[in-house]
């Protein structure tokens, strides 16, 4: 039977550009920026509120204060007990989440359109009038401390935290935003209230919304509700860290581990850095995609791992560049050698031709998915605004990516991928891992708590 030509990839047909709804901007009397867009495919509304000071703006002694304060927000507010707040939210059926990262505090809300007003009232209560009741604070603090304990149970999380500490040292990005048991122990209701005042009540904030709404009326409603937010203050700057001094290799013992969790990293770059997009293109070829060099080697050729990925976490200041994988413990040393070989290979033989094209296309042609759903559209717009990217950023993005050439990619590979400038962390059963690491030279084995 005759059919289509199977011997080659079918030709691409034209795909229309995604139509991005227009966000309209309004400002409350207090200074809160409100950006709203109408997307009425389904009867839903998605909202994000971002305040411009995260865990990186905390003094080291108060690490975790922002995260804990945000966790306490729904635990009693506006004269309602924690129990009543929970019953309220759960009856409305809205989705609510709140968290603090290194750079920002972020609250999000998802509601069916007919209940959006009620859901906004809930958000208003938690943002403007959190109770910080000492008894509830004590409970949530205990839960947070316990969560830190469970984090240490997980070799993958242990490796993440160890790499951040090794790469960033005393810089705030070296600390876990959730804090430590010692810092959390010092945080009482008053400290959390002060943190809330500094970050949410008085910090720079923006509220982004999209869905089945009328932007003007919605913004007027939000401006009225959130009027008391004083959002005029600039977020305190975060300085970038300097690169770690040596190519340390650390083995952390995790008794009975069934695999070796491996992290390789260094200080990467900040949002808006001149070579940011070249770094994204380079990373797509190195370890950002399934078919990237690292995954082809370690997984599809060697079978040593379920997967290996690399990425630049771009933050207000330079965030980490990081390679993450988990491998069969006896081959951990060989896996690290292969990773180093691929890093050097990217410097010696940067992507060109089809490999470079594929990396660029994966970034630009995936844009429609970034804006596909109402929630994702709000997330993309929030990311743009929170990092101060220009209004036409997503429109310009394809051109910026297309302009990245072989030399640009080669330059970022030279800058970030020198194996001698990268820190390596292994979390494994040390007895089992040690023999395989012998060829790598000096291995530092710090005491593990």
């Amino acid at each position: 039977m005759s059919g289509p030509d199977r011997t080659r990839r079918p030709p691409s047909r034209p795909t229309p550009a995604p139509i991005l709804p227009e966000f309209r901007e309004f400002r409350s009397d207090g200074g809160l920026r409100v950006r709203a867009a109408r997307v009425a495919r389904l009867p839903e509304v998605a909202v994000r509120l971002v305040a411009g000071a995260g865990a990186a703006s905390e003094p080291a002694a108060l690490t975790g204060a922002t995260s804990l304060a945000v966790r306490c927000l729904p635990e009693g507010a506006a004269g309602r007990s924690a129990r009543d707040m929970a019953a309220w939210l759960d009856h409305v059926g809205a989705g609510f989440g709140a968290g603090a990262g290194h750079d920002h505090v972020e609250l999000h809300l998802h509601a069916l359109a007919p209940t959006a007003g009620e859901a906004l009232s809930f958000l208003e209560a938690v943002v403007l009038q959190p109770a910080f009741d000492p008894d509830e604070v004590a409970r949530v603090r205990r839960e947070a401390v316990d969560g830190l304990g469970r984090r240490r149970d997980d070799p993958a999380a242990v490796a993440d935290d160890a790499l951040a500490a090794a790469v960033f040292g005393d810089h705030p990005y070296g600390r876990y935003p959730g804090g430590t048991a010692a810092t959390l122990a010092t945080l009482d209701a008053d400290a959390l209230r002060e943190t809330w005042e500094r970050t949410l009540r008085d910090g720079p904030a923006v509220l982004i919304a999209a869905g089945d709404l009328e932007p003007e009326a919605f913004a007027a409603d939000v401006a009225r509700r959130f009027g008391p937010l004083r959002s005029a203050v600039e977020a305190p700057p975060v300085e970038s860290a300097s690169r770690p001094p040596s190519s340390a290799l650390r083995l952390l013992h995790h008794a009975g581990s069934r695999q070796a969790e491996i992290r390789v990293g260094t200080v990467g770059l900040a949002r808006g850095a001149p070579d940011e997009i070249a770094a994204l293109v380079m990373n797509a070829a190195l370890g950002g995609l399934f078919g990237s060099r690292l995954n082809r080697n370690l997984r599809e050729d060697k079978g040593w791992t379920y997967g290996v990925r690399s990425g630049f976490a771009r933050r207000r200041a330079a965030g980490p560049f990081e390679i993450r994988t988990a491998v069969d413990t006896p081959v951990a040393g060989r896996a690290i050698e292969e990773i180093r070989r691929e890093l050097q290979g990217m410097r010696d033989r940067p992507p060109d031709g089809e490999e470079l094209d594929a990396a660029r296309r994966s970034l630009t042609l995936s844009l429609p998915r970034r804006f596909e759903t109402t929630s994702r559209l709000v997330a993309a717009e929030t990311e743009r605004v929170a990092y101060g990217l220009p209004e036409d950023w997503w429109h310009r993005f394809p051109e910026i990516v297309a302009a990245v050439g072989r030399d640009d990619v080669a330059a970022v590979a030279q800058r970030f991928l020198d194996p001698a400038g990268l820190v390596t962390v292994i979390v494994a059963d040390a007895e089992e891992a040690r023999p395989g690491l012998a060829a790598l030279g000096v291995v530092d084995e710090p005491e593990t708590p």
Binding site: M1, P4, R6, R9, P10, R13, T15, P18, L42, P43, E44, P74, A82, M85, A86, A87, L89, D90, H91, V92, G93, A94, G95, H110, A111, L112, A113, T115, R142, E143, D146, G147, R150, D154, A156, G256, R258, Q259, L289, F290, G291, E300, D301, G303, T305, Y306, G307, A326, V327, D328, R361, T364, L365, S366, L367, P368, R369, E372, T374, S375
Partner: protein, 467 residues
């Protein structure tokens, strides 16, 4: 398969983003996510999705769900085979085979499947679960033919590209997946421990989809050929195309790419209900954890059963949100737990409701278990209040809308409805079905689930703590 969005041992709750394979890995708080449902229907707009259907001459069922403003299309192929169909001594094979299907076919070289889709701006994955195996690509709409070429080539021209080297490579990958996602994760072995207590020897759901090392080691090329010949014919598959396409064009494209693949005869699956129960009871396992966690797993209505939605609502009342019964009692009032979760697994042959309670450090598993059962007993005794039931319906409806906003998830939900329920229209009917769940329905299903024989329990405790 791949390590893109989700590890391969999993599956979807009713096409949602919930992960039924292992509630432990969904973390704390509420494990239910993105489940489907409906609230009170008074004046609420209920989305309706157009569904067009055709069956090709070779038996391949094709469903087209046109619509969506984004210039995207999802191609989702679901094969009616899962880990429940594995023969003795080959636990994990359905999932290992799923990996092999990404390793190329006669016209697609190894590595090209992922490379081409990602270079076109698309995303893709495959997952294996007890009852089905699925493969999907979501791509810019102008690349629909790319997705169909790749899917049809591995349905029709897979065996010429199968080699021992690929099998050995992916066997190693899957063994590392088992280590990474289960053996080396806190609480990672709880679910498979519970399954062995929930079901008797020989039951299709007694073992986890990821399988076991010794069975993965035993897999051969002959197994792979037999599996492909038995289960991967067009008459055992359903293709969903969802997104910015016209139905006629989508059907024509499906026929163009799949029409030449010969039928392989009627599928041989035994899809009968399998409600036999195992010994149940309580098992305690040690793990390198700082706090105990208790899993209570109950036999429940299967996904196609009319009582499934009520069982799902029950799990919502128990553990979804801070006002849910378990959260309120164990986390807020007694302060013995750090988080709770519950979910109803949409299985075809028989259902399961899972309840997961993570203790605060130092709280014994027995105390968590006892307190959890008290909450369950009270719900069975008193039945749900109308107010909490309304909340559960509202949450379910919102989560369904959130889920179905995405073309990937619409295709996924439609494929699950078509294959596991034999009813694509469930995609639209699900709103009304959740809307109709009454207090009596929940009371009845609670009684049936919790009273009869009681749950199978797994207590995961800090190593050395009372093993």
């Amino acid at each position: 398969m791949a390590c893109l969005e989700r590890p391969g041992g999993g599956g979807y709750v009713r096409g949602g983003a919930g992960r039924p394979d292992n509630p432990a890995r969904t973390g704390f708080g509420v494990t239910r996510r993105e489940d489907a449902g409906v609230a009170q229907g008074n004046g609420r707009q209920t989305p309706r999705f157009r569904i067009e259907r055709r069956t090709l001459d070779n038996g391949l069922r094709v469903l087209v769900q046109p619509g969506g403003e984004a210039p995207l299309v999802a191609a989702h192929m679901m094969y009616d085979v899962g880990s429940a169909d594995e023969p003795a001594g080959r636990r994990g094979f359905a999932h290992l085979f799923e990996h092999l299907l990404f390793e190329g076919s006669e016209h697609v070289a190894k590595g090209e499947h992922f490379r081409l889709v990602q270079a076109a701006g698309g995303t893709l994955n495959g997952t294996t679960w007890f009852d089905r195996t699925n493969y999907w690509e979501t791509v810019p709409v102008g690349e629909l033919e790319l997705a169909l070429w790749l899917e049809s080539d591995r349905m029709g021209w897979f065996l010429p590209a199968l080699t021992q080297e690929k099998l050995d490579n992916q066997r190693d990958v899957v063994k590392n997946e088992r280590r990474q996602s289960y053996e080396n994760r806190p609480y990672g072995l709880a679910v498979e421990t519970a399954l062995a207590r929930l079901f008797p020897a020989g039951h299709p759901y007694r073992h986890p989809t990821i399988g076991f090392m010794e069975d993965l080691d035993a897999a051969t090329l002959t197994d792979a050929r037999d599996w492909f010949e038995t289960w991967y014919g067009p008459e055992n598959a359903t293709l969903v195309i969802a997104g910015a396409v016209a139905p006629d064009a989508a059907f024509a494209a499906a026929d163009r790419w799949f029409g030449a693949i010969p039928s392989r005869g009627a599928p041989r699956g035994d899809r009968a209900a399998a409600t036999a129960r195992g010994e149940g009871g309580v098992v305690t396992i040690g793990d390198r954890v700082s706090a105990a966690r208790v899993y209570l797993a109950c036999h429940a209505p299967a996904f196609p059963d009319p009582a499934f939605e009520a069982a799902d609502v029950l799990s919502s009342l128990l553990a979804e949100g801070r006002s849910s019964r378990l959260h309120h009692d164990l986390v807020h009032e007694r302060r013995i737990a750090a988080g709770v979760g519950a979910s109803a697994w949409p299985l075809r042959r028989t259902g399961l409701v899972w309840i997961v309670v993570t203790g605060l450090s130092g709280v014994p598993a027995s105390e968590l278990d006892g307190a959890t059962r008290e909450v369950l007993d009270r719900l069975v005794r008193e039945g749900p209040r109308e107010f909490e039931l309304e909340g559960a319906r509202n949450r379910a409806r919102r989560q369904l809308v959130l889920q179905l906003d995405s073309v990937t998830q619409r295709a996924d939900a439609l494929a699950h409805a078509a294959v596991l329920r034999g009813d694509p229209d469930y995609l639209n009917e699900v709103f009304a079905r959740y809307d109709a769940v009454s207090a009596d329905d929940v009371a009845r299903v609670s009684h049936d689930i919790l009273a009869a024989g009681g749950p199978a329990a797994v207590h995961v405790v800090p190593e050395g703590d009372g093993r």
